[in-house]
């Protein structure tokens, strides 16, 4: 028993007054001096900031890494603790999504590959030195060169210098570089654009300038091209030009819920609706940009056919049409499931036509800022490549940061085909299905450990710079490739950093280089791109336009996952810990179906279903969900579930529909953590309608006791439910910022998740689905405070409902008494084993077992602001303090500030007629004001 326990024990038996919570622990702590001071001055205890790029998904947002210098027993190093958007970055404007926030845990993931691994004869991997690894690669290259075999280089989307380097590399060793394979390759859109406008590319959608947005299947907030950018633009459009937004989809998606109005259309019948809109634009007296020669070919559909095909009601169709016609700057975006159907190409083309007709091309659909997908291939190209692999003429196979085996459908037989290659080298950061079949695994550094650059779209280049030294024995892809080339005597440059820098200088000159490293990105106004309308193609297309057949039910729709993208983010524990905002299921996968479908097949929640189609089959528990069509089943991509649909040669996309599946109840009952106790508001007016505050809410509560005053500050928050898209980025941010522990599935099944802030979905018949952000309301008359026997929680002079963790004895009375149930109890001690302990935010204490914890409006940030303000002898400015949640919110739905300051934005918003507080009748006087959600038809 060590000293501390011993003292505990003493305390336990004697209750001696000697013991104090403030006891100094006896662990022999060290301070380690530098031998030589680092060139970039590090002030101990002060955070450092690096501007770099998020590489978790292809959107490539600019991120600002917050790092601290930390001392662990004998080492002293700089470790990132938090990622935030670069404030003025043209993609994400200082915000970040859930995956971006969580991507820091990839750096500290203890399951990363720590050394180069080579497969022995018996199929087990043995770790080797980098030197040996390079030797093997060289010798293999030699061998296969001698035997005249084809070598291939597969990678996921790469941009900028890395892409150039790979070119040189492949050219040097005559390796065939294949198109980059992404499951989300948007080739339907690209093909359509080249077909109509002669540009094989994805345009940049200027949602922020639109006043009406019609999205069809495009999950613009989950995975579609650049979700964060879309979210930011959405909120700007909402604020500036009061954007109206309809969404048409066959299934149920986060994006759909966030739209003003969501229309459920029969799967794969978008084409009818599109044609109808197109014709009605043509019919309109005001000139459409579509020449008559094309215009006359547009078939006109009678409404009743339309109704019967699409399953939309007449008034719905008219609503959409009128909204489109009556708006000045309408924009239609098709993508996601709508382009991953049999008629995906047509859908894309028709939407192109509509955009052209309404003159949105060039302004709202901006080709001059086209997304950089030049190297990204289609699924077809991948399929063809698979055909070409065979035993005796395929030698080396390089797989860079890609996991085709688990991401591409089984029926393509990816695994079997790839195995045929003689020697497979995988450059990967974590183990996955593909690394299993590889012969050599080279561990990749996280982008926070490596140099590089990225080129997300035309006219924008991002810097990738390390914020810490490598934690494990890893190297960055650039360095690996350069090293290999060096060993073959081809010296491109001494390392990847200098390669990147020289590239930059070549393009933009020397002088702006430091600026580039400082800012983390460089943007230039791209030369405008004129696109011309290809009449012949349009006519051709309309002449032999085929109408799709209705899909065979029961139908399975594979929907993109907000949390796991195409499955690549599945190995991040944190993302599993945070529940999916629609179903509130955290761990494991599930299949959603509507109530009536469930009744028909007498399926009840948590029943395990076996879904089979030909050879393919999955077993998933059922989740009954409102807002889903009849006989439609939805699974989210991630983990065991991948895109298993057929591929479409015309659109070059994977199909996200699996028709005519058969469902079997296995009889098993899988326990899945559904964190929500009830999906209904139970008539409690949590998100009230009408939204303006009722009289009863307005009047101040009477009390026997006198008011208590706040001197200079009273921190408060407003949450605009109209802008909140339930993307859960705030939740992830909170986890990282406040050292909130990850407790795992078993605790979740008991309902013991630790999140301080949560997204509560409420499904209501008449108002559709709405999200509520629930965190500590920092009540002025907090019910939790007076019940604490030891003053562990109390009301601080600045209006914060303080929680002093090391004073808490754990009666849990406060949690019982909290009407919002936002307090979390540490049921067990949580280990922060290496390297996770490096991630801990030093500004926030790590809570012991048996202690209550909760949101404190990121008190550490407030304290910091105070510190700075004191130095400058002023008071804290409005917007100077930003809690982690508010900081990362892509739609800026959360506003934080001092409500005593009459000029603060918080004060103004709290006085808006949409503002209300939850359970106001309880008289808890919360400091969080919600701005009610507007209805679509307002």
């Amino acid at each position: 028993m060590n000293r501390r326990n011993f003292m505990k024990f003493l305390g336990f038996i004697t209750g001696s007054t000697f013991l104090s919570s403030c006891g100094i622990d006896k662990g022999l702590r060290k301070i380690i001096s530098y031998a030589i001071p680092p060139e970039k001055e590090i002030i101990p205890g002060e955070p450092l900031f690096f501007n770099t790029t998020c590489t978790e998904c292809p959107a490539l947002c600019g991120i600002q890494v917050k790092a601290y210098e930390k001392i662990f027993d004998t080492e002293r190093g700089i470790y990132p603790v938090k990622l935030e958007g670069i404030p003025d970055h043209p993609i994400n404007y200082g915000t970040l999504c859930i995956r971006g926030q969580a991507s820091i845990t990839r750096l500290y993931n203890p399951h990363r590959i720590k050394d180069p691994l080579i497969k022995e004869r018996d199929g087990v991997f043995r770790s080797i030195s980098w030197d040996q690894a390079f030797q093997t690669i060289i010798s293999e290259i030699e061998k296969h060169k001698a035997e005249k075999r084809y070598n291939f280089f597969i990678s996921s989307r790469t941009t900028g210098s890395l892409s150039l380097l790979i070119d040189e590399f492949c050219h040097e060793f005559n390796i065939k570089r294949l198109p980059e394979f992404e499951i989300y390759n948007y080739s339907a859109i690209r093909k359509a654009n080249s077909f109509l406008f002669g540009k094989y590319s994805i345009p940049h959608y200027n949602i922020k300038d639109a006043d009406f947005l019609l999205t069809m299947g495009a999950d613009i907030f989950e995975t579609f091209i650049s979700p964060v950018s879309h979210a930011v633009q959405f909120s700007i459009a909402r604020k500036n030009n009061n954007l109206k937004w309809f969404h048409v989809e066959p299934h149920l998606s986060l994006t759909g819920i966030c739209s003003d109005k969501r229309f459920t259309i029969n799967p794969g019948t978008e084409i009818y609706l599109l044609i109808y809109i197109l014709t009605s634009i043509q019919k309109r007296k005001i000139s459409s940009n579509i020449p008559a020669s094309v215009g006359q070919l547009i078939p006109s559909l009678p409404l009743d056919i339309l109704k019967e095909k699409t399953g939309l009601k007449e008034e719905e169709i008219l609503l959409i049409r009128d909204a489109y016609l009556n708006s000045k700057r309408p924009l239609i975006i098709t993508g996601g499931v709508s382009t991953r159907s049999g008629s995906g190409f047509e859908v894309a083309v028709l939407s192109g036509l509509i955009n052209w007709a309404s003159g949105s091309i060039g302004s709202l659909v901006d080709f001059s800022r086209e997304e950089n997908y030049l190297r990204v291939g289609t699924i077809e190209e991948f399929v063809n490549f698979l055909k070409t692999i065979d035993e005796n003429n395929t030698g080396l196979l390089f797989l860079l940061k890609t996991d085709p085996v688990s991401i591409f459908p089984q029926h393509l037989g990816v695994k079997e085909k790839l195995i045929r290659a003689r020697f497979k080298v995988s450059l990967s950061d974590s183990f996955n299905e593909t690394t299993k079949i590889c012969d050599l695994i080279l561990p990749l550094s996280h982008s926070l450990e490596s140099w590089g650059d990225a080129n997300p779209r035309r006219g924008l280049v991002n810097l990738i710079q390390p914020a810490t030294k490598t934690i494990f024995n890893t190297k960055s892809h650039g360095d690996i490739i350069i090293e290999i080339m060096k060993r073959k005597g081809k010296v491109v440059s001494e390392d990847f950093k200098s390669f990147v820098m020289s590239n930059y200088q070549k393009r933009y000159g020397k002088d702006s280089l430091n600026m580039f490293i400082e800012k983390g990105f460089h943007e230039e106004n791209p030369s405008p791109v004129r696109v011309s309308f290809n009449e012949e193609n349009a006519q051709l297309f309309l002449r032999k336009l085929k109408y799709p057949e209705a899909m065979k039910t029961p139908l399975l729709i594979l929907s993109p996952s907000l949390r796991f993208f195409d499955g690549r983010s599945f190995d991040l524990e944190l993302l599993k810990e945070i529940p999916d905002p629609l179903s509130t299921i955290s761990y494991g996968s599930w299949i959603s179906l509507s109530e009536e479908t469930a009744k028909k097949l007498n399926i009840s929640e948590r029943d395990e279903l076996e879904i089979t189609k030909d050879q393919w089959s999955i077993r998933v528990p059922a989740k009954i969900q409102k807002g889903i069509g009849k006989d439609i089943f939805i699974v989210q991509i991630g983990g065991p579930i991948n895109y298993s649909g057929m591929t479409d040669p015309r659109s070059g996309e994977i199909l996200s529909y699996i028709e005519g599946i058969n469902i079997r109840k296995t009889g098993k009952n899988v326990s899945i953590p559904i964190l929500s106790g009830s999906m209904s508001q139970e008539g409690r007016g949590i998100i009230p309608y009408p939204i303006h505050r009722t009289e009863n809410n307005k009047k101040h509560k009477e009390s026997l006791y006198p008011e208590h005053k706040h001197e200079n500050y009273r921190w408060a928050m407003t949450i605009d439910l109209d802008l909140c898209i339930g993307c859960s980025a705030c939740v992830a941010a909170c986890y990282i910022e406040n050292n909130v522990p990850i407790v795992g599935i078993n605790e979740h099944l008991k309902g013991r998740e630790m999140s301080w802030i949560r997204v509560e979905p409420f499904y209501d018949e008449k108002d559709g689905i709405r999200f509520l952000l629930m965190l500590c309301q920092q009540c002025d008359y907090a019910p939790c405070e007076p019940v604490c026997p030891v003053y562990a929680t109390y009301h601080n002079p600045e209006g914060i409902n303080a929680q002093v963790y090391n004073r808490c004895v754990g009666t849990r009375y406060c949690s019982n008494n909290c009407p919002y149930k936002v307090r979390r109890f540490n049921w067990y001690p949580h280990e922060w084993e290496f390297p996770r302990d490096r991630m801990l935010n030093p500004e926030v204490s790590v809570r012991q077992a048996g202690v209550m914890e909760k949101c404190t409006f990121c008190i550490q940030r407030i304290r910091r602001a105070h510190d700075i303000a004191k130095d400058e002898g002023r008071s804290i400015r409005d917007g100077e303090v930003m809690p982690a949640c508010a900081q990362t919110c892509p739609t800026r739905a959360i506003t934080f500030g001092n409500i005593l300051d009459k000029n603060s934005s918080v004060y103004k918003l709290s006085k808006s007629d949409r503002s209300y507080r939850i359970f106001e009748q309880l008289g808890t006087e919360p400091s969080i004001y919600y701005l009610g959600k507007r209805r679509g038809d307002e």
């Binding site: 024990f9 139970e682 509560e760 629930m774 007076p786 026997p789 004895v809 849990r812 067990y828």
Partner: protein, 437 residues
């Protein structure tokens, strides 16, 4: 000398012999019972140790059900304690004759019940080794406890209650100990003469003694009311629907006396049988104590009705949901048991025959004990699992540790009581003498 006098004199000697006979060498059943309860107690304690080592998570509590079996036990045992004080103090003030045959065991029960109850607030702490932070002692932190917190009220109420009951128990025993010392030999004799403080029974001693006894009785009477009111305010002071109600104090006090009386019967019936005290604890006594049982049962049932009607008449959606859930939700079975045991079975006590039927009394007292435990459980758990925010609704999880510790508490209580019956006079001899003069 006439017959009556000689009878009285003869009675004095007989009662001493009979009562002190209980302290003679115990026979086998006693050892069996003692063994069982000791085993239970030890398992309970080791489970507690396990809980401290692993973490509070093993106790089956969840978010939002932060209070579970431990607090249930706390309230239950405090409740048990109450009738002890009632019988010894309140009935003393009312000069109820039949009290003398129960009060000693009732007071003993009180003391042991509080000891058991007092453990649970500590057991249910997340960091029990810091329990002393709940005591207002001058400390280096210059920080005191929060006197606005009902839990601190508990600390004071229960602390006071324990001290006072202990004094009461002891003072009541002094003259009897003096008698015991006369019969005992060897170390036992030394012990008793030490405990009896050299009591001689001079007129002065008796004078002050009676005064003191009266004072203690009149202190204990309001105390007994206050203590369980305070315990009820742990709930009533919160804002949880189903807890936040003004009727809790009287409701809980009645409930406490109800359960306590039941426990007295549970304990006295076998005691009476084993030590053949039929002469001193007569059917009339049982009859009258059964009446108390019946009365309190009626009060409790009335409170149930009031609770529900207030919820539904008040039209507060939170309250309505909680009470709907309480009756028909996941815990309906507990609720049903509670109603049957507390409101229905005691109704049979309207029948005089059954009141005087020891077996029936014993059985029904057991039922009431169960019922009252269920009541506390239902109140705590259902209210917590269905409060304001529907998203946060949830259930507690099954926990063997919690159940083990609960059983352990019963073990502890019975162990203490069994030891008591062997070492201390189980009836107040002196009083019985006085009564029989």
């Amino acid at each position: 000398m006439n017959k009556a006098i000689s009878k009285a004199i003869e009675f004095r000697y007989r009662i001493e012999k009979d009562v002190l006979a209980a302290m003679k060498k115990p026979h086998i059943q006693y050892w069996i019972f003692l063994f069982i309860s000791v085993i239970l107690f030890v398992t309970g304690m080791s489970l507690w140790y396990y809980q401290i080592k692993t973490g509070m998570g093993v106790s089956g509590k969840t978010h939002p059900v932060g209070w579970y079996m431990y607090i249930t036990n706390f309230v239950f045992w405090v409740g048990i304690a109450h009738s002890g004080t009632l019988i010894s103090a309140v009935l003393f003030l009312f000069r109820a004759g039949f009290r003398s045959s129960f009060n000693r065991s009732a007071e003993a029960m009180t003391v042991f019940a509080i000891m058991t109850a007092g453990l649970f607030p500590i057991i249910h702490l997340g960091r029990p080794w810091l329990f002393y932070w709940l005591l207002p002692y001058p400390n280096e932190r210059l920080l005191w406890v929060n006197f606005k917190s009902p839990l601190i009220w508990d600390v004071f109420a229960v602390g006071t209650y324990f001290t006072v009951s202990l004094i009461f128990f002891y003072v009541g025993m002094i003259p009897d100990l003096a008698i015991a010392r006369r019969y005992a030999t060897g170390w036992k004799r030394r012990l008793y003469s030490f405990l009896s403080l050299g009591w001689q029974g001079t007129p002065d001693q008796w004078r002050h003694y009676n005064r003191l006894y009266m004072f203690l009785a009149s202190f204990a009477t309001p105390l007994v009311v206050s203590v369980h009111s305070v315990v009820s305010w742990d709930f009533a002071m919160s804002i949880i629907p189903g807890w936040h109600t003004t009727i809790f104090a009287p409701y809980f006090v009645a409930g406490a006396i109800f359960s306590g009386t039941a426990m007295v019967i549970t304990l006295v019936v076998p005691m009476r049988k084993f030590f053949s005290l039929e002469k001193y604890i007569t059917l009339d006594h049982f009859d009258s104590i059964a009446k108390i049982l019946l009365l309190t049962s009626l009060i409790v049932s009335y409170s149930y009705i009031v609770e529900f009607s207030m919820a539904f008449y008040g039209g507060n959606i939170f309250e309505m949901e909680v009470f709907r859930y309480r009756a028909f939700g996941d815990f309906w079975i507990f609720f049903a048991i509670m109603i049957i045991c507390n409101s229905i079975i005691p109704l049979f006590l309207f029948i005089r025959k059954l009141r005087r039927n020891i077996k029936f009394l014993f059985i029904s007292s057991l039922f009431v004990n169960v019922g009252m435990w269920m009541e506390r459980f239902v109140i705590i758990v259902t209210s917590l699992s269905r409060d304001f925010d529907p998203y946060a609704w949830g259930l507690p999880s099954f926990s063997t540790v919690a159940i083990g510790i609960t059983l352990g508490s019963f073990g502890m209580f019975f162990m203490l009581f069994l030891i008591f019956v062997k070492v201390l006079p189980i009836l107040s001899i002196t009083e019985l003498k006085e009564v029989h003069e």
